[in-house]
């Protein structure tokens, strides 16, 4: 059982090593990375099936019993996130076949990419707050390396802001861990769920929970802590920014969901009200920021922020339906956002730029790309019958059910503004003529575009599939939401049956 849990983390690590040693041979290294990602997806799916059949499963690494050992837990939410991470990883690995050049490969792009995937997967599977911190750092260090790879001045500039703000968040996180340990004497999340609820000084617990909220808030780029994201996400190569956009902030959201449903639930009047305001402001500032941008990836970066607001909204409302919405939104958003960044990469390759006012004519030159852009773009804006429609629909319905009219209205208006941004990209990059009167042509230097298209088509098909057949995905999200709201199965899986714990 415990091997099932560790494999999705181990496989990327084991892939990273040969990929690094083969770094001098870009093609070989990329293929190793691709093969590793494919095997990783299989392992993730096996884990998912187990969780689906048997409920929450937990394992102790190196055989020390919880709450003392290194615990890995997979409930439905973790399993879904692991699978979606593996899917994104596979898509980006396919895309990287076409984009990553010899130089980046020699610097260790493929190895760092796999370590990043391992870090993300580890963060989803760990059952211990301190290990969550360690996985965050694994992820962060790999992302630093990927962000500055190539070393253009613009990248360094973006990286300074990214590194600075993420390090601050790291320190807040570790201080929170220290204080929580001092108060409760445990860091195992299942054990903490009990210890925090029983703690005599609930005010202190709320205070500590706010430290965690700020730390995870920086990671998930919520208002007003998001400034590192639009400063850096448009600078690295497209394969890198796609995996960042898809996965990194979502780990922060996952950590928020996990800690504010499992651990800090004693005073939702304070914590979840703050989260609700944060969600609203995040949605609005993100979408307004996007409206002012003219760079393809900057528009998309601000939209990440705005979409994070929706996910936090579901957590803030804390009703079963709202959490279903959050989980569904996470899945939908990761696929769509990674896909849009990959499309931005193809468009940059075809037109030679990413400033929307200086490119154009893509509709005539690449009708396939135009069609592929419309799928994630409309899904992002929430057009039926694509995946984004269902995600938004559930969240708006959940807010209406709790009579949260204001936030429901905000969510709808923000959706409208999202359409504005997507239309702007469409009009500027695809519809209008190229300002320099040239027709974008695929470059003739033999650069293969097919891996890039393959990755984009793969993700677009998933978006359509979720949109057309939402029922099974909704059921999974409902299971996840039920497990989040009633963590007794989670706690029992980690600590053993209550009878054993009493002995």
């Amino acid at each position: 059982m415990s091997w099932l849990l560790i494999l999705p983390i181990l496989i990327p690590f084991c892939t990273a090593i040969p990929a690094f040693f083969a770094g001098g041979n870009a093609q070989l290294s990329a293929r190793i990375s691709l093969a590793g990602s494919a095997i990783g997806l299989v392992a993730a799916l096996v884990l998912f099936c187990q969780v689906h059949d048997q409920g929450v499963i937990a394992g102790q690494m190196s055989g020390w019993a919880a709450p003392f050992g290194i615990t890995l837990v997979a409930d439905m939410l973790s399993a879904i996130m692991v699978v979606i991470t593996a899917i994104t990883g596979l898509a980006v690995a396919i895309y990287a076949l076409g984009e990553i050049d010899d130089n980046q490969s020699e610097l260790g792009y493929h190895a760092l990419f796999q370590i990043l995937l391992a870090g993300v997967t580890g963060a989803f599977l760990t059952g211990d707050l301190f290990n969550l911190y360690v996985w965050f750092e694994v992820m962060l260090i790999a992302s630093f390396g990927l962000l500055i790879m190539g070393g253009r001045a613009e990248q360094i500039d973006g990286a300074v802001k990214y590194v600075a703000l993420n390090l601050v968040s790291t320190i807040l996180f570790v201080s929170g861990v220290g204080l929580l340990y001092g108060e409760t004497g445990t860091l195992n999340m299942a054990d903490l769920s009990r210890a925090v609820a029983e703690h005599p000084d609930q005010g202190m617990m709320v205070l500590i929970s706010l430290l965690f909220m700020i730390a995870f808030g920086v990671k998930s780029a919520v208002f007003p802590l998001f400034f590192w994201l639009p400063a850096s996400y448009h600078t690295p190569s497209f394969a890198v920014s796609a995996v960042f956009a898809g996965l990194l902030t979502k780990v922060g959201v996952y950590a928020l969901i996990r800690s504010f449903t499992l651990i800090f639930t004693s005073d939702p009047g304070i914590t979840h009200t703050i989260l609700l305001w944060v969600a609203g402001f995040t949605m609005v500032t993100g979408v307004l920021g996007a409206a002012a941008q003219s760079d393809f990836r900057k528009v998309l970066s601000f939209h990440i922020i705005s979409q994070i607001g929706y996910m936090v909204l579901g957590l803030a409302l804390m009703t079963p339906l709202a959490l279903v919405g959050s989980v569904f939104y996470l899945v939908h958003h990761i696929i769509v956002k990674a896909n849009l960044f990959l499309i931005a990469g193809i468009s940059e390759k075809l037109t030679g730029g990413s400033n929307l006012y200086k490119i154009g004519g893509l509709y005539g030159a690449a009708p396939l790309l135009a069609a592929l852009f419309l799928i994630p773009a409309f899904s992002l804006a929430g057009f039926p019958p694509l995946s984004g429609f269902w995600a938004k629909y559930i969240l708006v319905k959940a807010s209406l059910d709790t009579q949260a009219w204001l936030i429901a209205g905000t969510a709808l208006v923000v959706g409208l503004f999202t359409i504005f941004s997507m239309t702007k990209i469409w009009a500027e990059a695809f519809w209008k003529e190229h300002p320099d009167e040239i027709t974008p042509e695929p470059p003739m230097d033999g650069t293969a575009l097919w891996p890039r298209y393959a990755a984009v088509i793969f993700l677009a098909l998933l978006t359509v599939a979720i949109g057309l057949v939402p029922q099974p995905f909704l059921e999974l999200a409902e299971t996840a939401s039920a497990q989040l709201l009633d963590p007794s199965a989670y706690i029992a899986a980690v600590l053993g049956e209550p009878v054993e714990a009493a002995q």
Binding site: G158, V160, T170, V174, E183, T235
Partner: protein, 121 residues
């Protein structure tokens, strides 16, 4: 001992925040290392300060014979120091690269990735 350590942590955080508010990237980094040490001190103090022995089990015994210091916070601090050390070393290299490439350490002058006006690009 704990109140004394708490005051020390407070002073370190105050000094660190003062440094981190500076526009100079290098001063920011110094603030960062100070505040990360304050965080480590917090974890250390969270394990309670005791004048006991190191948490080592003598040969032949199965458990420590006397009361020992809490080993877990020390392990956590060690991990946090290691990670902090790695991140800080990276940040220093980055600052040096930034100075080379951008010609400044003043963070408000670093506007390459986010130019003041979009037409500058």
């Amino acid at each position: 001992m704990e109140p004394l350590l708490a005051i020390l942590v407070g002073a370190m955080v105050a000094a660190a925040i003062y440094l981190m508010l500076d526009r100079n990237l290098l001063r920011f980094l110094f603030g960062l290392i100070l505040i990360s040490n304050a965080a480590n001190m917090t974890i250390f103090a969270a394990g309670r300060l005791t004048p006991e022995r190191p948490p080592l089990v003598p040969v032949g015994a199965k458990a420590p014979l006397t009361d020992v210091a809490n080993a877990l916070p020390q392990a956590l601090v060690l991990t946090a120091i290691v990670i902090g050390f790695g991140l800080f070393a990276f940040a220093l290299v980055l600052a040096l690269r930034a100075y080379d490439n951008l010609g400044t350490l003043d963070t408000s002058e670093m506007r390459l990735a986010e130019p003041r006006s979009e037409n500058d690009t």
